[in-house]
Subunit: 217 residues, 2 copies
DNA sequence: CGTCTTTTCAAACAATTGTTTAAAACATAT
DNA sequence: ATATGTTTTAAACAATTGTTTGAAAAGACG
Protein backbone atom coordinates (compact mmCIF):
# COMPACT_ATOMS: atom_id res chain seq x y z
CA UNK A 1 0.00 0.00 0.00
CA UNK A 2 1.17 3.52 -0.60
CA UNK A 3 -0.85 5.92 1.55
CA UNK A 4 -0.22 3.91 4.70
CA UNK A 5 3.48 3.68 4.06
CA UNK A 6 3.97 7.40 3.82
CA UNK A 7 1.66 7.81 6.77
CA UNK A 8 3.86 5.68 8.97
CA UNK A 9 6.99 7.37 7.69
CA UNK A 10 5.51 10.78 8.33
CA UNK A 11 4.45 9.87 11.83
CA UNK A 12 7.93 8.64 12.63
CA UNK A 13 9.44 11.79 11.15
CA UNK A 14 7.14 14.02 13.17
CA UNK A 15 7.77 12.18 16.40
CA UNK A 16 11.51 12.14 15.80
CA UNK A 17 11.54 15.83 15.00
CA UNK A 18 9.70 16.76 18.17
CA UNK A 19 11.77 14.51 20.38
CA UNK A 20 15.12 15.41 18.85
CA UNK A 21 14.20 19.06 19.38
CA UNK A 22 13.14 18.58 22.97
CA UNK A 23 15.57 15.94 24.24
CA UNK A 24 18.42 16.10 21.78
CA UNK A 25 19.71 13.45 19.42
CA UNK A 26 21.55 11.38 21.98
CA UNK A 27 18.82 11.91 24.51
CA UNK A 28 16.19 10.36 22.28
CA UNK A 29 15.86 6.62 21.87
CA UNK A 30 14.37 4.83 18.93
CA UNK A 31 11.82 3.34 21.27
CA UNK A 32 10.78 6.79 22.46
CA UNK A 33 10.30 7.87 18.87
CA UNK A 34 8.38 4.85 17.69
CA UNK A 35 6.40 4.75 20.90
CA UNK A 36 5.35 8.37 20.44
CA UNK A 37 4.52 7.65 16.82
CA UNK A 38 2.48 4.62 17.75
CA UNK A 39 4.41 2.21 15.56
CA UNK A 40 6.74 -0.68 16.14
CA UNK A 41 10.41 -0.12 16.89
CA UNK A 42 11.46 -2.06 13.84
CA UNK A 43 9.37 0.17 11.59
CA UNK A 44 11.84 3.02 12.01
CA UNK A 45 14.76 0.90 10.92
CA UNK A 46 12.70 -0.58 8.13
CA UNK A 47 11.82 2.81 6.67
CA UNK A 48 14.96 4.76 7.40
CA UNK A 49 17.69 2.22 7.98
CA UNK A 50 19.22 3.63 11.14
CA UNK A 51 18.84 6.30 13.77
CA UNK A 52 21.49 8.34 12.01
CA UNK A 53 19.64 8.14 8.69
CA UNK A 54 16.43 9.09 10.47
CA UNK A 55 18.06 12.22 11.83
CA UNK A 56 19.27 13.02 8.36
CA UNK A 57 15.75 12.63 6.99
CA UNK A 58 14.40 14.92 9.72
CA UNK A 59 16.91 17.59 8.79
CA UNK A 60 16.47 17.21 5.06
CA UNK A 61 12.72 17.52 5.18
CA UNK A 62 12.76 21.01 6.71
CA UNK A 63 16.23 22.39 6.35
CA UNK A 64 16.57 21.76 2.64
CA UNK A 65 13.57 23.87 1.58
CA UNK A 66 14.48 26.40 4.25
CA UNK A 67 17.99 26.83 2.92
CA UNK A 68 16.77 26.84 -0.66
CA UNK A 69 14.59 29.81 0.25
CA UNK A 70 17.58 31.48 1.84
CA UNK A 71 19.80 30.84 -1.16
CA UNK A 72 17.13 32.15 -3.53
CA UNK A 73 16.94 35.43 -1.66
CA UNK A 74 20.70 35.70 -1.35
CA UNK A 75 21.09 35.07 -5.05
CA UNK A 76 18.61 37.84 -5.80
CA UNK A 77 20.61 40.22 -3.68
CA UNK A 78 23.86 39.26 -5.33
CA UNK A 79 22.39 39.60 -8.82
CA UNK A 80 20.93 42.96 -8.01
CA UNK A 81 24.23 44.16 -6.57
CA UNK A 82 26.07 43.03 -9.70
CA UNK A 83 23.50 44.59 -11.97
CA UNK A 84 23.49 47.97 -10.27
CA UNK A 85 27.15 47.91 -9.32
CA UNK A 86 26.26 48.76 -5.76
CA UNK A 87 27.05 47.04 -2.51
CA UNK A 88 24.59 44.46 -1.28
CA UNK A 89 22.21 45.77 1.33
CA UNK A 90 23.29 44.46 4.72
CA UNK A 91 19.81 44.36 6.12
CA UNK A 92 18.59 42.48 3.10
CA UNK A 93 21.32 39.89 3.50
CA UNK A 94 20.54 39.41 7.16
CA UNK A 95 16.81 39.23 6.50
CA UNK A 96 17.41 36.55 3.88
CA UNK A 97 19.21 34.54 6.52
CA UNK A 98 16.94 35.16 9.49
CA UNK A 99 13.39 35.49 8.23
CA UNK A 100 13.02 32.05 6.64
CA UNK A 101 13.93 30.48 9.95
CA UNK A 102 10.91 32.08 11.57
CA UNK A 103 8.57 31.65 8.64
CA UNK A 104 9.14 27.94 9.13
CA UNK A 105 7.32 28.17 12.43
CA UNK A 106 4.17 29.25 10.70
CA UNK A 107 4.29 26.20 8.49
CA UNK A 108 4.23 23.51 11.14
CA UNK A 109 7.93 23.61 11.74
CA UNK A 110 7.87 25.05 15.23
CA UNK A 111 9.49 21.98 16.69
CA UNK A 112 12.12 21.90 14.01
CA UNK A 113 12.98 25.53 14.55
CA UNK A 114 14.22 24.73 18.02
CA UNK A 115 16.01 21.67 16.70
CA UNK A 116 17.88 23.68 14.10
CA UNK A 117 18.73 26.30 16.70
CA UNK A 118 20.36 23.69 18.84
CA UNK A 119 22.05 21.86 15.99
CA UNK A 120 24.53 24.71 15.78
CA UNK A 121 26.02 23.69 19.09
CA UNK A 122 25.24 19.99 19.25
CA UNK A 123 28.37 18.09 20.22
CA UNK A 124 27.33 14.90 18.51
CA UNK A 125 29.45 14.21 15.46
CA UNK A 126 26.52 12.91 13.46
CA UNK A 127 24.46 16.02 14.07
CA UNK A 128 27.37 18.27 13.16
CA UNK A 129 28.15 16.41 9.97
CA UNK A 130 24.58 16.42 8.70
CA UNK A 131 23.87 19.98 9.75
CA UNK A 132 27.11 21.46 8.43
CA UNK A 133 26.64 19.80 5.06
CA UNK A 134 23.25 21.47 4.68
CA UNK A 135 24.42 24.83 6.02
CA UNK A 136 27.71 25.20 4.16
CA UNK A 137 26.30 26.81 1.00
CA UNK A 138 24.45 29.34 3.11
CA UNK A 139 27.49 30.23 5.15
CA UNK A 140 29.60 30.65 2.04
CA UNK A 141 27.07 32.89 0.39
CA UNK A 142 26.53 34.87 3.57
CA UNK A 143 30.23 35.49 4.06
CA UNK A 144 30.67 36.52 0.45
CA UNK A 145 27.79 38.99 0.46
CA UNK A 146 28.61 40.43 3.87
CA UNK A 147 32.21 40.98 2.80
CA UNK A 148 30.95 42.76 -0.33
CA UNK A 149 28.62 44.88 1.76
CA UNK A 150 31.37 45.83 4.18
CA UNK A 151 34.51 46.17 2.04
CA UNK A 152 36.23 48.41 4.55
CA UNK A 153 35.85 45.87 7.36
CA UNK A 154 38.50 43.14 7.70
CA UNK A 155 37.31 39.70 6.62
CA UNK A 156 38.05 38.25 10.00
CA UNK A 157 35.86 40.85 11.65
CA UNK A 158 33.05 40.08 9.24
CA UNK A 159 33.47 36.39 10.00
CA UNK A 160 33.11 36.88 13.72
CA UNK A 161 30.20 39.26 13.44
CA UNK A 162 28.47 36.70 11.28
CA UNK A 163 29.12 34.10 13.96
CA UNK A 164 27.59 36.43 16.52
CA UNK A 165 24.48 36.71 14.38
CA UNK A 166 24.30 32.94 14.10
CA UNK A 167 24.56 32.64 17.86
CA UNK A 168 21.83 35.17 18.44
CA UNK A 169 19.56 33.47 15.92
CA UNK A 170 20.22 30.03 17.35
CA UNK A 171 19.39 31.16 20.85
CA UNK A 172 16.24 32.90 19.72
CA UNK A 173 14.81 29.94 17.87
CA UNK A 174 15.68 27.82 20.86
CA UNK A 175 13.94 29.85 23.55
CA UNK A 176 11.06 31.42 21.67
CA UNK A 177 7.96 29.51 22.61
CA UNK A 178 9.88 27.36 25.05
CA UNK A 179 7.85 27.14 28.26
CA UNK A 180 11.05 26.60 30.23
CA UNK A 181 11.97 30.25 29.72
CA UNK A 182 8.50 31.57 30.39
CA UNK A 183 9.40 32.68 33.91
CA UNK A 184 12.32 34.78 32.71
CA UNK A 185 10.34 36.86 30.29
CA UNK A 186 9.31 40.30 31.48
CA UNK A 187 6.16 40.25 29.37
CA UNK A 188 3.86 37.59 27.96
CA UNK A 189 5.20 35.98 24.82
CA UNK A 190 5.40 38.65 22.18
CA UNK A 191 4.55 38.29 18.54
CA UNK A 192 7.02 36.31 16.50
CA UNK A 193 7.18 39.15 14.00
CA UNK A 194 8.23 41.50 16.78
CA UNK A 195 11.05 39.25 17.91
CA UNK A 196 12.18 38.71 14.33
CA UNK A 197 12.32 42.45 13.87
CA UNK A 198 14.27 42.92 17.07
CA UNK A 199 16.78 40.29 15.99
CA UNK A 200 17.22 41.78 12.54
CA UNK A 201 17.75 45.24 14.01
CA UNK A 202 20.22 43.83 16.47
CA UNK A 203 22.09 41.93 13.77
CA UNK A 204 22.18 44.90 11.44
CA UNK A 205 23.54 47.41 13.93
CA UNK A 206 26.06 44.91 15.22
CA UNK A 207 27.15 43.91 11.75
CA UNK A 208 27.71 47.46 10.63
CA UNK A 209 29.93 48.09 13.59
CA UNK A 210 30.43 50.67 16.22
CA UNK A 211 28.64 53.69 14.86
CA UNK A 212 27.28 55.85 17.67
CA UNK A 213 30.44 57.48 18.97
CA UNK A 214 33.30 56.83 16.62
CA UNK A 215 34.88 55.09 13.67
CA UNK A 216 36.03 51.51 13.49
CA UNK A 217 38.64 50.43 16.00
CA UNK B 1 45.27 10.19 52.87
CA UNK B 2 44.49 13.68 51.70
CA UNK B 3 46.76 14.62 48.85
CA UNK B 4 46.02 11.50 46.81
CA UNK B 5 42.30 11.81 47.28
CA UNK B 6 42.14 15.29 45.87
CA UNK B 7 44.48 14.18 43.13
CA UNK B 8 42.10 11.47 41.98
CA UNK B 9 39.15 13.78 42.34
CA UNK B 10 40.90 16.46 40.35
CA UNK B 11 41.83 14.05 37.59
CA UNK B 12 38.25 12.88 37.31
CA UNK B 13 37.02 16.47 37.27
CA UNK B 14 39.48 17.44 34.56
CA UNK B 15 38.64 14.46 32.41
CA UNK B 16 34.92 14.98 32.89
CA UNK B 17 35.21 18.65 32.04
CA UNK B 18 37.07 17.97 28.81
CA UNK B 19 34.78 15.17 27.72
CA UNK B 20 31.54 16.92 28.65
CA UNK B 21 32.76 19.90 26.64
CA UNK B 22 33.72 17.84 23.63
CA UNK B 23 31.07 15.12 23.55
CA UNK B 24 28.27 16.55 25.64
CA UNK B 25 26.81 15.27 28.88
CA UNK B 26 24.76 12.48 27.40
CA UNK B 27 27.48 11.65 24.94
CA UNK B 28 30.01 10.99 27.67
CA UNK B 29 30.03 7.75 29.63
CA UNK B 30 31.41 7.29 33.09
CA UNK B 31 33.80 4.75 31.65
CA UNK B 32 35.11 7.25 29.14
CA UNK B 33 35.72 9.74 31.94
CA UNK B 34 37.43 7.35 34.35
CA UNK B 35 39.33 5.74 31.50
CA UNK B 36 40.67 9.11 30.41
CA UNK B 37 41.50 9.96 34.02
CA UNK B 38 43.29 6.65 34.48
CA UNK B 39 41.20 5.57 37.44
CA UNK B 40 38.63 2.88 38.08
CA UNK B 41 35.02 3.35 37.09
CA UNK B 42 33.85 2.98 40.65
CA UNK B 43 36.15 5.80 41.78
CA UNK B 44 33.91 8.38 40.16
CA UNK B 45 30.83 7.17 41.99
CA UNK B 46 32.81 6.86 45.20
CA UNK B 47 34.00 10.46 45.09
CA UNK B 48 31.01 12.16 43.54
CA UNK B 49 28.06 9.86 44.05
CA UNK B 50 26.60 9.92 40.57
CA UNK B 51 27.15 11.18 37.05
CA UNK B 52 24.73 13.99 37.73
CA UNK B 53 26.60 15.08 40.83
CA UNK B 54 29.86 14.90 38.91
CA UNK B 55 28.47 17.27 36.30
CA UNK B 56 27.37 19.56 39.09
CA UNK B 57 30.88 19.51 40.56
CA UNK B 58 32.38 20.29 37.15
CA UNK B 59 30.13 23.31 36.80
CA UNK B 60 30.58 24.52 40.34
CA UNK B 61 34.34 24.44 40.17
CA UNK B 62 34.59 26.92 37.31
CA UNK B 63 31.24 28.63 36.97
CA UNK B 64 30.92 29.66 40.61
CA UNK B 65 34.10 31.76 40.72
CA UNK B 66 33.37 32.99 37.20
CA UNK B 67 29.94 34.22 38.15
CA UNK B 68 31.23 35.66 41.40
CA UNK B 69 33.63 37.76 39.35
CA UNK B 70 30.77 38.83 37.14
CA UNK B 71 28.57 39.72 40.10
CA UNK B 72 31.38 41.70 41.72
CA UNK B 73 31.82 43.82 38.63
CA UNK B 74 28.09 44.27 38.17
CA UNK B 75 27.72 45.32 41.78
CA UNK B 76 30.44 47.91 41.31
CA UNK B 77 28.62 49.32 38.33
CA UNK B 78 25.32 49.44 40.19
CA UNK B 79 26.89 51.11 43.22
CA UNK B 80 28.62 53.67 41.05
CA UNK B 81 25.40 54.40 39.20
CA UNK B 82 23.55 54.89 42.48
CA UNK B 83 26.29 57.04 43.90
CA UNK B 84 26.53 59.35 40.92
CA UNK B 85 22.87 59.20 40.02
CA UNK B 86 23.75 58.38 36.44
CA UNK B 87 22.75 55.50 34.24
CA UNK B 88 24.95 52.44 34.28
CA UNK B 89 27.39 52.30 31.41
CA UNK B 90 26.13 49.76 28.89
CA UNK B 91 29.57 48.79 27.72
CA UNK B 92 30.69 48.28 31.29
CA UNK B 93 27.73 46.00 31.98
CA UNK B 94 28.40 43.95 28.87
CA UNK B 95 32.11 43.75 29.63
CA UNK B 96 31.33 42.52 33.14
CA UNK B 97 29.33 39.73 31.56
CA UNK B 98 31.58 38.83 28.66
CA UNK B 99 35.17 39.37 29.73
CA UNK B 100 35.27 36.92 32.66
CA UNK B 101 34.18 34.17 30.30
CA UNK B 102 37.30 34.67 28.22
CA UNK B 103 39.65 35.34 31.10
CA UNK B 104 38.75 31.85 32.23
CA UNK B 105 40.52 30.49 29.18
CA UNK B 106 43.79 31.94 30.35
CA UNK B 107 43.46 30.15 33.65
CA UNK B 108 43.22 26.58 32.43
CA UNK B 109 39.53 26.74 31.76
CA UNK B 110 39.67 26.53 27.99
CA UNK B 111 37.74 23.29 27.93
CA UNK B 112 35.17 24.58 30.34
CA UNK B 113 34.60 27.69 28.29
CA UNK B 114 33.25 25.58 25.46
CA UNK B 115 31.23 23.54 27.92
CA UNK B 116 29.57 26.61 29.37
CA UNK B 117 28.91 27.92 25.89
CA UNK B 118 27.03 24.80 25.04
CA UNK B 119 25.25 24.49 28.36
CA UNK B 120 23.02 27.36 27.29
CA UNK B 121 21.40 25.16 24.70
CA UNK B 122 21.84 21.69 26.15
CA UNK B 123 18.56 19.81 25.99
CA UNK B 124 19.33 17.60 28.94
CA UNK B 125 17.22 18.46 31.95
CA UNK B 126 20.07 17.89 34.37
CA UNK B 127 22.37 20.26 32.54
CA UNK B 128 19.68 22.91 32.34
CA UNK B 129 18.81 22.67 36.01
CA UNK B 130 22.39 22.92 37.23
CA UNK B 131 23.36 25.61 34.77
CA UNK B 132 20.29 27.78 35.28
CA UNK B 133 20.68 27.70 39.03
CA UNK B 134 24.21 29.07 38.74
CA UNK B 135 23.31 31.62 36.08
CA UNK B 136 20.12 33.03 37.53
CA UNK B 137 21.69 35.71 39.72
CA UNK B 138 23.71 36.94 36.77
CA UNK B 139 20.73 37.12 34.48
CA UNK B 140 18.72 39.00 37.08
CA UNK B 141 21.47 41.52 37.66
CA UNK B 142 22.11 41.92 33.96
CA UNK B 143 18.47 42.55 33.17
CA UNK B 144 18.18 45.05 35.98
CA UNK B 145 21.27 47.04 34.97
CA UNK B 146 20.50 46.95 31.27
CA UNK B 147 17.00 48.20 31.94
CA UNK B 148 18.46 51.02 34.02
CA UNK B 149 20.92 51.86 31.29
CA UNK B 150 18.21 51.91 28.63
CA UNK B 151 15.16 53.41 30.35
CA UNK B 152 13.59 54.48 27.08
CA UNK B 153 13.71 50.96 25.65
CA UNK B 154 10.82 48.59 26.47
CA UNK B 155 11.74 45.86 28.94
CA UNK B 156 10.81 43.16 26.50
CA UNK B 157 13.18 44.60 23.93
CA UNK B 158 15.95 44.71 26.49
CA UNK B 159 15.21 41.12 27.37
CA UNK B 160 15.54 39.92 23.80
CA UNK B 161 18.64 41.94 23.09
CA UNK B 162 20.19 40.42 26.17
CA UNK B 163 19.28 36.99 24.84
CA UNK B 164 20.95 37.85 21.56
CA UNK B 165 24.13 38.76 23.44
CA UNK B 166 23.99 35.47 25.32
CA UNK B 167 23.62 33.61 22.04
CA UNK B 168 26.55 35.43 20.48
CA UNK B 169 28.72 34.78 23.53
CA UNK B 170 27.74 31.13 23.70
CA UNK B 171 28.60 30.57 20.06
CA UNK B 172 31.91 32.37 20.40
CA UNK B 173 33.12 30.39 23.37
CA UNK B 174 32.03 27.27 21.56
CA UNK B 175 33.87 27.78 18.30
CA UNK B 176 36.91 29.79 19.36
CA UNK B 177 39.83 27.39 19.40
CA UNK B 178 37.67 24.59 18.07
CA UNK B 179 39.61 22.85 15.30
CA UNK B 180 36.34 21.79 13.70
CA UNK B 181 35.75 25.37 12.58
CA UNK B 182 39.33 25.96 11.47
CA UNK B 183 38.46 25.54 7.82
CA UNK B 184 35.75 28.20 7.92
CA UNK B 185 37.94 30.94 9.27
CA UNK B 186 39.24 33.44 6.73
CA UNK B 187 42.41 34.04 8.73
CA UNK B 188 44.51 32.07 11.18
CA UNK B 189 43.09 32.05 14.67
CA UNK B 190 43.15 35.60 15.95
CA UNK B 191 44.04 36.77 19.41
CA UNK B 192 41.45 36.04 22.03
CA UNK B 193 41.56 39.69 23.06
CA UNK B 194 40.66 40.70 19.55
CA UNK B 195 37.66 38.42 19.42
CA UNK B 196 36.54 39.55 22.86
CA UNK B 197 36.71 43.14 21.68
CA UNK B 198 34.75 42.35 18.55
CA UNK B 199 32.05 40.66 20.59
CA UNK B 200 31.80 43.50 23.07
CA UNK B 201 31.55 46.04 20.25
CA UNK B 202 28.91 43.93 18.58
CA UNK B 203 26.96 43.53 21.79
CA UNK B 204 27.14 47.21 22.64
CA UNK B 205 25.96 48.52 19.28
CA UNK B 206 23.21 45.92 19.13
CA UNK B 207 22.12 46.61 22.67
CA UNK B 208 21.87 50.33 22.16
CA UNK B 209 19.67 49.81 19.16
CA UNK B 210 19.38 51.08 15.65
CA UNK B 211 21.56 54.13 15.59
CA UNK B 212 23.09 54.70 12.15
CA UNK B 213 20.14 55.94 10.13
CA UNK B 214 17.30 56.76 12.43
CA UNK B 215 15.56 56.60 15.76
CA UNK B 216 14.05 53.56 17.41
CA UNK B 217 11.37 51.76 15.44
C1' DC C 1 53.50 -3.80 65.21
C1' DG C 2 48.15 -3.87 64.96
C1' DT C 3 43.88 -1.34 64.24
C1' DC C 4 40.84 1.54 62.04
C1' DT C 5 39.42 4.39 58.18
C1' DT C 6 39.85 5.72 53.54
C1' DT C 7 40.55 4.63 48.95
C1' DT C 8 40.92 1.52 44.93
C1' DC C 9 39.61 -2.18 42.07
C1' DA C 10 37.73 -6.23 39.33
C1' DA C 11 33.48 -8.04 38.79
C1' DA C 12 28.78 -8.07 38.49
C1' DC C 13 24.13 -5.67 38.51
C1' DA C 14 19.81 -4.61 36.05
C1' DA C 15 18.33 -1.52 32.63
C1' DT C 16 18.52 0.46 28.19
C1' DT C 17 20.64 1.13 23.79
C1' DG C 18 20.34 0.50 18.29
C1' DT C 19 19.59 -3.13 15.39
C1' DT C 20 18.18 -7.66 13.40
C1' DT C 21 15.31 -11.74 12.66
C1' DA C 22 11.64 -14.40 11.04
C1' DA C 23 7.03 -14.82 10.91
C1' DA C 24 2.60 -12.67 10.36
C1' DA C 25 -0.52 -9.31 8.16
C1' DC C 26 -1.68 -6.82 4.30
C1' DA C 27 -2.12 -5.20 -0.51
C1' DT C 28 -1.97 -5.78 -5.35
C1' DA C 29 -1.97 -8.20 -9.59
C1' DT C 30 -2.69 -12.05 -12.47
C1' DA D 1 -7.95 -17.92 -5.51
C1' DT D 2 -3.08 -17.99 -5.91
C1' DA D 3 1.03 -15.76 -6.10
C1' DT D 4 4.05 -11.78 -5.32
C1' DG D 5 5.75 -8.05 -3.06
C1' DT D 6 5.37 -4.72 0.78
C1' DT D 7 4.69 -3.49 5.46
C1' DT D 8 4.17 -4.52 10.40
C1' DT D 9 5.14 -6.98 14.42
C1' DA D 10 6.88 -9.56 18.73
C1' DA D 11 10.97 -11.27 20.14
C1' DA D 12 15.64 -11.57 20.54
C1' DC D 13 20.50 -9.77 19.64
C1' DA D 14 24.90 -8.11 21.47
C1' DA D 15 26.67 -3.99 23.30
C1' DT D 16 26.72 -0.26 26.47
C1' DT D 17 24.74 2.39 30.13
C1' DG D 18 25.11 4.15 35.38
C1' DT D 19 25.62 2.10 39.56
C1' DT D 20 26.70 -1.32 43.30
C1' DT D 21 29.22 -4.93 45.64
C1' DG D 22 32.75 -6.95 48.51
C1' DA D 23 37.19 -7.70 48.98
C1' DA D 24 41.90 -6.04 48.51
C1' DA D 25 45.16 -2.28 48.94
C1' DA D 26 46.83 1.89 50.98
C1' DG D 27 47.17 5.19 54.51
C1' DA D 28 46.71 7.07 59.13
C1' DC D 29 47.43 6.59 63.89
C1' DG D 30 48.08 4.45 68.30
Amino acid sequence: MRAEQTDTKKQILDAAEALFAREGYQGTSMRAITGSAGVNVAAANYHFGSKEALLEAVFERRLKPLNEARLRRLKEIRDEARRTGRRPDIRGVLRAFIEPAFELRERGGAEFSALAGRAFTDPDGTVQRIFLRLMRPISQSMMELLALALPEVPKETVFWRYQFVIGALARTTRIYGNPRFEAMRPAPEGDIKLVTGLLIDFAETGMMGKSPEGADA
